[in-house]
Amino acid sequence: MLLFSLLIISVVSFAQEKPDSYRVEMADTMRSNGRIYVVVAVALTILIGLVLYVVRIDRKISKLEREK
């Protein structure tokens, strides 16, 4: 599934490249396509933050269980 998502991301990023050569394209991914990538970055940051929080709680409970 991870491999698949990487594939999709690469396909999407290929679609971004524009043919007109006179325009200087430099690391413009975050500014293209109505800046939807910014939304993706924000949503992913929140998701990863929440996941890290859950992982921390998981670790803490594991520690408590070992102490018992």
């Binding site: 599934m1 998502s5 409970i61």
Partner: protein, 231 residues
């Protein structure tokens, strides 16, 4: 060490949901427009809720068969997390509806009363209230065995109420909510395009696994508490 491959799978599926769900092409439908992407979030909340309630009722039955207090803890925590997912589904649904169902040409009060009368919303509210009553009933009984037994029986009744309230009842009445004539979110011909399924099914699995993960944390914590009380 606990086996954690499914936790990693859950996170990977959710990351996939968030990126592909926001970036991949979706069918252009009137009124819905880009909000159809909410399928990967709002609808998944309800699917996760139904799966977690099912696990809860299975554990309630297991408790009644064995009278092992462990299963009572399982049943309770799965129900609690399912309720959280249900509330999130309700909240996201309210946001979604207010930008799609609500008619900007009508006065706000008018269109609000149409939305609030929708049978799907009322059915979901009934289902959630039945489960709120489950928690209240549980916590109002002091005796541990009595609490476990009564709430396990109530859990079965609540589960029997869940599907009529959220699936059958709204279909008998006219509803704004999509999916009255078929299966919402699963009907490729009318609701979604085929490639939306490539994100929708992984999303359901990812969200459900996240719910299970949180539930296991709650279960482990309450088992620890239980041990502390006994020793």
């Amino acid at each position: 060490m606990y086996k954690s491959w499914w936790k990693i799978a859950s996170v990977a599926l959710l990351i996939y949901t968030f990126t592909a769900g926001l970036l991949l092409d979706v069918p252009r439908l009137p009124a819905l427009q880009e909000t159809i992407r909410n399928l990967y979030f709002h609808v998944c909340m309800w699917f996760a809720m139904m799966i977690l309630f099912t696990v809860s009722v299975v554990n309630a039955i297991r408790y009644l068969r064995t009278f092992n207090i462990k299963y009572d803890i399982y049943a309770r925590q799965f129900a609690v997390v399912a309720i959280v997912f249900g509330l999130l589904g309700y909240l996201t649904g309210a946001i979604w509806a207010s930008y799609t169902w609500a008619d900007p040409n009508k006065p706000a009060i008018n269109s609000f009363s149409t939305i609030a009368r929708d049978p799907k919303l009322i059915g979901a509210a009934i289902a959630l209230l039945v489960y709120f009553a489950y928690l209240i009933l549980r916590d109002s009984i002091q005796d541990m065995d009595k609490k476990a037994r009564i709430s396990a029986v109530y859990n079965i009744f609540a589960y029997a109420m869940l599907f009529p309230a959220i699936w059958i009842l709204p279909r008998i009445l006219p509803s704004l909510h999509p999916g009255n004539e078929g299966n919402p979110a699963l009907d490729v011909k009318n609701d979604i395009s085929g490639n939306m399924r490539m994100i929708f099914y992984p999303a359901v699995i990812g969200w459900t696994l996240l719910g299970v993960w949180i539930t296991t944390l709650k279960i482990r914590l309450s088992l620890l508490k239980e041990k502390g009380m006994l020793s």
